[in-house]
Symmetry: C2
Subunit: 661 residues, 2 copies
């Protein structure tokens, strides 16, 4: 054990194990997580070469091998609960998506939700047993977020009782689905349904794409890998071009909508039913943001405790870089963010399950709010986490740039969350639509419930953005509830500013749509402020649930730092609205520095509490024992470029060059 990091652990003012339980959701959850982790860690079938040393094809190959093993083992161990499957999978492919992700996460669930009983009989068991490996082909090369724009057609031919699936243009080629390129032999294809000369919009079709025995593409199918990406090297994101491919009528998923044998189209009973999955996935992504930030801050803070550099006081030995105020200012707000997002993720997951219960009872009343919240928080947390990972990487100096730090991998695997499952700006605008609707309702005297109820309060309407700072808001910035209050008022004011921007555009005789587009910057800001308020509020609420005094104390420091740091980074909003005055902002700046010092002794313990096993973290810099340099050297020597002392390019190019110059 590195003596520096050992000393850090001795300075902790709280019991790390207890905090781990809180983060896991209880001691029993911690126990079970560790049990599953050790199942994987001690299983020699999951031994692997560092993917960073492999070619793309080798990486894919290794991932398929491990995924196949994973399916076998989960059956063997009886791991079937979705949360436990997720945990096991995360251990087998730590931090990396894998080729079966869409089969398990989209193909099987879509069958469960949208297949008729006959279709279930035909497809479910083969898919469960991986004879059928499926993917979910929605996105096209030219069409993403806007589903109505998708071009793939499914035209019903009553003469043969078949649908003809077709990609009419290059831009209509299905593009991006994971596992489509090489792994899958089936795809659920989303296509515009045409029957009796009318288009009925997007519907889902089960399309065989490769021969079950030879795995060769079927006639009319052009399928392959879309090529290298920033990350996701283990996944064969694919393309699919359909040239008048015929499938039987009963390959349309017909649990809700139907096409009768004569071509008559039967509408689905409700559109709300597909709503839930999106909300669920976006809520999960909030948890992913937390995990990515937790991992990154673990690596950067542990490394900052063992790395010595430069000098603060002349003549003294080089200090740990964690002693530098600038380093603390980079990393401790990220640490606070990791805790904030973890608790927000827990809240989203609990709320989802609660509301799903209500929905099953036929009560949809809370769904719109959750939908809006999950969209906004997905965008808010992924954007913040995305930047935070890079702050952590760059805080590790040059070594953060080495793949041995794991930070480049964390970034490239995480950053697509800003784009997939709803592009972030579009998500923010969805939340804004809900906020604008709620604002209009509040103005019309309707009493709002839930998280937007603050729009009822007339209080903020007295705040005039133009006449700032003369007023004193009397908000106590040393008090967390005071901070929640200013975030709430900021959100209310930015919602109002966005609404007024739309009004102004309308008064200038713009259409509703142009008014919206011309106010989009303000709308995104309003959503951002709303989400920020929710995060600060949920973090503060969480403190009330914590009995252990030393833990509550240190978490309360993190909550304060999170809130105050957010104010500093957006101080213009608070000053403009007169929610804070200049002297309060200067006090906040001073208070942040104090909090950095106060958190310093607990920094390593706070990342230890995330309890990432070294095998899950896979970072030379983030090792629990702090023995960074020896292992970095060892790792480097295994680099494929070192497999020979002299690279072949010497004889091929360098030596011959001499005689030519």
């Amino acid at each position: 054990m590195n003596p520096d990091i050992q000393k850090e652990r001795q300075k902790a003012t709280f019991e790390v194990e207890k905090l781990t339980h809180i983060l896991d959701g209880g001691p029993e959850k911690t126990r079970r997580r560790r049990e599953i982790e050790s199942l994987v860690i001690n299983d020699s079938d999951f031994k692997e070469e560092d993917p960073n040393f492999l070619s793309r094809s080798e990486r894919y190959d290794q991932a398929v091998r491990k995924s196949a093993q994973m399916i076998l083992k989960m059956r063997e161990y009886g791991i079937a609960d979705p949360e436990e499957i997720y945990c096991y999978k995360s251990c087998v492919h730590p931090g990396r998506p894998e080729p079966f992700d869409l089969h398990l996460g989209m193909f099987l669930p879509t069958l469960l939700n949208q297949a008729t009983p006959e279709q279930m009989d035909r497809y479910f068991m083969p898919a469960w047993n991986l004879e059928i490996i499926g993917t979910y082909a929605q996105t096209e090369m030219g069409h993403g977020t806007h589903l109505r724009g998708l071009e793939t057609t499914a035209t019903f031919d009553p003469a043969t009782q078949e649908f003809i699936l077709n990609s009419p243009t290059v831009s209509s080629i299905k593009w991006w689905p994971g596992g489509l390129g090489k792994t899958s032999n089936y795809a659920i294809v989303l296509a515009q349904l045409y029957t009796q000369g009318n288009c009925h919009g997007l519907h889902a079709f089960i399309v065989p794409i490769r021969d079950m025995n030879t795995h060769q593409p079927l006639p009319g199918i052009v399928v392959g890998d879309i090529g290298p990406k920033f990350g996701f090297n283990e996944v064969d994101n694919g393309f699919l071009k359909l040239d008048h491919v015929r499938i039987p009528r009963d390959n349309m998923l017909m649990k809700y909508a139907k096409v009768d044998p004569d071509g008559t189209y039967v509408k689905p009973p409700s559109a709300k039913l597909t709503y839930g999955t999106m909300v669920f996935i976006r809520s999960m992504i909030v948890g992913e943001s937390a995990r990515a930030v937790a991992k990154s801050s673990t690596i950067a803070i542990r490394y900052s405790a063992v790395r010595h550099q430069s000098e603060i006081r002349p003549g003294e030995p080089e200090p740990q870089i964690l002693e530098y105020q600038t380093q603390q200012y980079k990393l401790f707000p990220v640490l606070a963010m990791a805790y904030a997002f973890t608790f927000v993720g827990q809240y989203m997951s609990q709320t989802y399950h609660r509301i799903t219960g209500d929905i099953n009872q036929g009560d949809f009343s809370e769904l719109p709010e959750l939908h809006a919240l999950s969209a906004g928080l997905k965008a808010f947390t992924t954007w913040a986490a995305n930047s935070a990972i890079e702050v952590c990487r760059m805080s590790c100096g040059g070594h953060g740039y080495s793949r041995s730090s794991a930070l480049p991998d964390i970034y490239v695997e995480f950053t697509p969350t800003c784009t997939y499952e709803g592009e972030n700006t579009v998500m923010m605008l969805q939340t804004a639509r809900y906020l604008m609707k709620s604002y209009r309702q509040a103005r019309a005297g309707q009493l709002l419930h839930g998280i937007v109820s603050y729009l009822n309060e007339a209080d903020h309407q007295r705040v005039q953005p133009q006449l700032v700072a003369a007023r004193s808001t009397g908000i106590d910035i040393s008090d967390l509830s005071g901070l929640v209050e200013v975030y709430k008022l900021r959100a209310a004011i930015l919602v109002e500013l966005a609404a007024k921007s739309i009004q102004k555009e309308l008064q200038q005789r713009k259409s509703q749509e142009d008014a919206w587009n011309n106010s989009a910057i303000d709308l995104v800001r309003a959503s951002d402020a709303h989400c920020h308020y929710v995060v600060v509020k949920l973090f503060t609420d969480k403190l009330g649930e914590i009995d252990d005094a030393p833990i509550r104390s240190v978490l309360s420091m993190l909550a304060r730092l999170y809130a105050l740091h957010g104010i500093m980074n957006n101080s213009g909003d608070f000053l403009l609205a007169g929610l804070l005055n200049g002297s309060q902002v200067l006090q906040i700046s001073a208070r942040i520095k104090e909090l950095l010092s106060e958190l310093r002794p607990n920094a390593v313990a706070l990342v230890d509490a995330f309890n990432f096993h070294d095998r899950m973290l896979k970072s030379v810099l983030g090792r629990y024992d702090g023995n960074v340099y020896e292992h970095m050297f060892e790792w480097a020597r295994r680099s494929p470029l070192n497999s020979t002392e002299v690279h072949e390019s010497f004889e091929k190019y360098l030596k011959p060059l001499r005689s030519k110059l």
Copy 2:
């Protein structure tokens, strides 16, 4: 040609070619750049496979092949001017560093600057003719920015007239030098010089590391590649462990410092001489920031002109995504930044050459300011560019994540500039040290010259950060010189706040060093504000040099957008200091929206003016002809994973799995 992008070009209000000349520094420079580009583009010896389709070893191999060709061709064409070498090299390895970078950029120049005439005779021609390929080994595994912390020793043994070079610890292993791992057979090693029992600090030694004929490492040398990184795949960044390696006395570079045969150490005459190189490299990096942002915005803006998505007005066809206000708000400030940084880069280069002239005349007076400015601007522009590249990538939706967009490559090759040649936070603190010194001088009544002369003005000292916004500054935000003025005042105030923080710490009986560290956040903010002021000022100054009215008009829009966007992102500073009031900030927000609309027709023309040849840009999304989708499909089909229809993993893992489940 894609009709959308064609229409965009027809909307331009200025002559693109004329603006290209301004960006290149004159029509003759444009002509010569294109001449060099076409030398490379039309040369079949430089044909290459997309490196994204290759393994690490293949990438390195391809780069060595091209670099060897490059050296031959430059000799053949007589390309010898440093600027032209740089241009040719950038065409051969567009956007990518290569294995000879340190040989050409550090090994040869260090010989030129620090070798004695005898050493020049012995080493220069072999190095020029690439018999000797060298690198510059300074950074160690445990030591970067702080040079005094380096551990490698060079101990003089008078008995044998040799230096003994040694790596006493793991952390002292030389780490990171480019070309060290596999390419070089020599290294200039920086080591702590010991003679007659005393340490005389860092000195440079010429150390042979591989056999000239076999290329095998020499006895006592452990050398290799440090393993995969985020980017820099073409470069064999290496490690070097020296186990009591003996080299003759005259392998120390002795132009300045010397060790006599009896071991007597002779000091160098001046320390300032090595100053210049650092300043030069940091100034160059400002230009690199400009180029990275220019490339990224070219890709994102062209793609946004051909990509159609979603709807603004119902029933109408999907609009170009460049119509969305949110998309403009992401990309046009980045475009403005590309222009700003280009002009700052030109200024830094001109200033460097002017001051170098002065230095050669013995006049060092302007060096400290340039040193401080180059450090701060290096940090300011690389941080800003780093974020801007990712804004561009994410603005391209999923396709930005594909390596075919080139945006991931631009990011990974650019991001190390934030760390190397002086870690950015350290750079900001260096600039802050100069600002604090200047501030104290100004307070002591000394008249400051140059760019910090604003610290003389007593004006800002009347601004009381605590009493904001009541006052009206009377600054006209519609006037560029007014904007320069507020940036200047903001810098002055933040310099003062930092100085006061230090004073306060000192009053609390902290040592000078602790006071500095406890004010580091404020110091970085002060430097940042100083650099921001410089950038706004230089952009504004540049407009005055431009005769062409349509070009001046559109550049002036960009300058305004750059300045106003910076105010919005830092509005707290301006409000806090009472430099702007709330209603002005709201006006600025509205004015930004107007500028986005005003710039919209010229957006594509403004990126066209950067004049990146498609072969240099290497981006499917950024193609000049806008034919994105066809080429994306074509590129994907060349992906190595598509070399067979059925990947071997099917027979190995997937098919056998069926019988086991």
